[in-house]
Symmetry: D2
Subunit: 367 residues, 4 copies
């Protein structure tokens, strides 16, 4: 088990879906940051269940308590512990799966790896854990905002329904105007119907979340193994239901010639080195190059469906698993703030790590 | 800079493309492993330059020296240091780029992040560093082999030319029979011509490497952040030129319904719990489920091309970068052993970490 | 700030002395351990304030809540979060020091490092944080007990009053029979009077805690940097007010000849390799050798005294700091369970790390 | 096995006493540092064997090769690999101990933990490994020097012969003027005779090394677990033959009253907050307070003596171990640069970590 992420801005999450609480401890947040609780709560609200009829009807207020690390409204450099009580845990919904392995869930692997499992709502493997990430990610966003960095994700695909426009041709602010979180209003409406139809059929559907990060200066990211995109990839792949990650040209880039793919440099009117194109997705050699950072994350359909499925129980005997409980027919709308949170956590860690890349020339008397 | 990977089987690589040497220190290899130098050299030979006319003509023997950690042919539990001298460093090939930023290389980002850079052959950002990974990965493979685990990668796509067969329908052993490392001989021949044409045009082309890992028992992988596929993703994305990673159903999975995507469980004739399909790619909840692990890694076209390109120099002035040096027109054939090495490093770390997942029931007197 | 300790059994503590709560997240506790809440509470009770008139009169029940990681009375391999609410926070006692730096406290260094500080009761620098360590350490003790390992600390010195007997000549069980936690009843009584006199004078006094660990098999400890005694030393020195650490012969060993100091080996009647003496303190080359592990930790006098002291305020102006609040005149009685907790945390981490020292010979088909 | 130390300035050492080479990889050295090879060689020379008749007569030039990380005389932010070939390995001296456990050496514990060992000269457990630390520590010193920080150690005790003067009453520069490295010339001469007598008797003797660090600003050190003195303690205890560590008042502080021990603050003529006394050893709450950092490290007598000793062999049978090989009768003179190196490594890590303690107020537009 490793529930810890980060080198300098380090988070540890805890909590099961139907236990008393979930939460996160942030160790390494610099002191002096104004701790904007409304901002954090707003991001939690964007992730919380029950936002519309295409999200799970579980009701969780997802209000958080600050247990430590903040004094007089500022971070103190000490660990920040944030606690979210679980309130609407209908554990009885899960009695029937205590001895069953739900297809494409983590029941079987947890049971085998650990010898037991908290089967209620998936326990630790539930995406409920991501609320803790969103809270921590919101703190990271506050730090990034001070550096002029903004992280914005949106839904670009639901099932086979794709938004064919590039992010630069969209008004990303519109993503938050609809329950699907697609910045194209017409497409958002079609996606909503698609998801709702899927829900009515007792089925689920996958999708893709795109993410754009603006304002990152040149120099964030740590080669060789902790390349910026490698950490972003790990962070995204650590989110429940994620099956793939690509940045910049991504998989499509494999089909191009170098002469098509290379991003030529030029100097803009402000004297800043820029690239004419951005196949690199804002990252070269694992280090940000000052262009927009752009990446995409693919989510599989939610494993819980309201249909009978073949499976086995913990004794290996065949059983029929029938869908119960309250679940999302499509995770991508609620995944948007989770993608943003994980991106923010990666970026803030890289921001801090970059501070020690060069010697202190001023202090050293060199400049 | 982070040139260290792994939690228990920890590697640190070092070395620049045109410095005296590259190498790796492995800290955490268990004692008692028979150290098969021929096996390690064989993997280095699979990666080394000059294998055919579609790879770079740089000549490096890539022979390694064991500096520590091995005694009487066995690992001792102490750090294993492996050294590979650079021999064919035509540094003069690079004098012309000392002050230029090559498009889609790491020249600009390294220069800005660190204030200087070893420009010869890309210095630390060169894929030459991956030879050290291959050496370490070969040691990991030796440990995995004892557990019955095999890692096999192959080329499934070059440019837009795709091998449409599933891995299960291929004889993967054939991949090593041709210079492209594609297990379909006919497709391999076509890919070879494609790459060679590209080379003749002074251009480069991308591609995709698929990887299959067999024999992994249930239980490897550490949720929440260090999910097996998240670590595999990070490891692949840390390889030079990689733009995307997907496992199991991958990006295509986003387009499916849950009822299509879920892998139903059954018990096979040996009493083993299996899944009927493998959209999960052998991983559920971040933990191996006993099925084959399957993932795909997309590589962009090599940034160095034998054509003139617009760029800027370190003073921001416009320059024309012309292609020189010896480079691969397509990296995927040589990337195959690198993908395998990184996969082996991830898996061996997870294998070791899994050893402490449950209490020692026997010692504890429980069983 | 680093509030995280451990490689495999990793703890993160949080909380300020006068904030809402303190607590700890344990990431990496193996699954299947019976979670004995009474045992944990008992250790917290041994540390809690108000035990006798020679400890601080602050009243804290120090009852803990299990937020996660335990199901059906067993650990699940998932993070265990333990929460202790602060109840008796007389923050008004501290208003007077909001702008003063108390001598030999961390007020000045925290203020300078972080730009601000939670001055109430020392905030994060308060020894109240150690309650979280004791809770985590008790979980570690439960794991160790399964391996037959016992950790027992006791007070061997208060001020200049020293217990001259070796631990082997004492009945350590008697340590818990008196409020000083000295296993020699007569000495305990004298120490009690000494501390009480010191308290009446408004002063404080230092002391030494000895610790003995029995039952550790050969092989725990990780050379080169994470030697068992190096980790024990770091762990002890991380406890508030600690000034020194020694193991085995310690500082006195510096005065001996090799011919006096060396521990000769012999084979005992059970065929076990033993040493005739134990100057090594049970550790050779950083690895346990099967003998009792023995070390000593020196604590300075508590910095808070009920006397006026010269100091400066946050503006650098001279002030007189007068003693207020409720404080221990001597920390060593309450430090005993803290020393044990930190020792247990080190040992359990080494126990787990040792599991991967050698290849799996059985699985590998070698044995 | 953990041969890695450091959070941001991370070192990995490798190599056995009688293998081909030893060395170190430094991952995380900031770019732009002038790499002074003479300075590094000078520190290696201070540690190397054969300096006088009171050190081992093994002859090692201990010249190092820079394999990576330095270009045009400057560090590049990439891993710095330093290699030292072993030249004078008289392995045949050790054939007789292949099957014997030397008393108070690591032979028995390594053999048991790892199932085998490189017995030649102690293999990995040999203090020869510390040459790699000294090389890395010298790089750390170069960085510290830019910040005005100096690390100076010296011998304060040999056997029972103690230098009773405080460091402030000594001219520490004199320590390097004599082979014992004691800054009091008269005492140095007496210590030299003492050690030489011990050598003639075929015996060994312990000693104590004091260390003073000047110029450290307020704020270095990371509470809670990575307190500056806790990391210094771990670093010292990780050195071969170390039995104890204390800082500031140390063990003697346990015997004092708070009213004697507290360091009162005042503001000096330059407006700097200072303490009247320095029982704190320059560290309060785990963070440097701007005063001199002062600590002491106790070394046991070298385990190898030129006398017959009882022991057992690897089959548990009684044997007589007779002293052979070339060994130091007293390690402390050569330990001086090792203590300094480890201190420098701790301090440079804390220097870098401190850079992220507070938000970037200037960049954030707050100041």
């Amino acid at each position: 088990m490793s529930s810890t992420y980060g080198t300098l801005f380090k988070i540890s999450t805890f909590g099961e879906s139907h236990g008393p609480a979930i939460g996160v401890v942030i160790d390494g947040c610099p002191a002096g940051l104004t701790f904007d609780t409304d901002f954090i709560q707003h991001d939690l609200d964007r992730r919380k269940p029950g936002q519309s009829r295409i999200t799970t009807q579980r009701r969780e207020a997802d209000e958080f308590e600050v247990l430590s690390g903040v004094f007089d409204g500022k971070t103190q450099g000490t660990p920040i512990a944030l606690l979210i009580r679980n309130t609407d845990q209908r554990s009885k919904d899960y009695g029937h799966i205590a001895e069953q392995f739900r297809p494409s869930h983590a029941d079987y692997t947890y049971q085998t790896k650990y010898g037991s499992r908290d089967y209620r709502g998936g326990g630790r493997s539930s995406a409920r854990e991501t609320a803790a990430r969103v809270a921590a990610g919101a703190v990271a966003k506050l730090l990034l905002a001070q550096q002029g960095v903004q992280v914005q994700a949106y839904v670009s695909q639901v099932g086979t329904m794709k938004l064919e426009k590039a992010y630069a041709d969209l008004n990303l602010a519109l993503a938050e105007e609809n329950p699907v979180r697609c910045p194209d209003p017409e497409m958002a409406e079609r996606m909503f119907q698609y998801i709702d139809e899927t829900r009515k059929q007792g089925d689920s559907i996958g999708g893709i979340v795109d993410c754009v990060v603006t304002g990152v200066p040149v120099g964030w990211g740590e080669p060789v193994f902790d390349k910026l995109h490698a950490e972003l990839g790990k962070a995204m792949l650590s989110i429940n239901a994620v099956k793939g990650f690509e940045y910049g040209s991504g998989f499509a880039g494999a089909g191009l010639y170098g002469s098509q793919h290379n991003d030529e440099f030029y100097t803009d009117e402000q004297g800043r080195v820029r690239t004419k194109t951005n196949q690199s997705g804002g990252i070269q050699g694992g280090i940000s190059n000052g262009e927009d950072i752009y990446f995409r994350t693919a989510f599989k359909p939610v494993a819980t469906i309201m249909q009978d499925q073949d499976s086995v129980d913990i004794h290996g005997q065949p059983v029929t698993v029938s869908g119960k409980g309250r679940h999302d027919p499509c995770v991508v709308p609620r995944a948007v703030p989770i993608v943003e949170a994980m991106a923010a956590l990666v970026l803030v860690d890289m921001y801090l790590r970059n501070k020690v890349s060069q010697i202190d020339r001023q202090e050293a008397g060199i400049l």
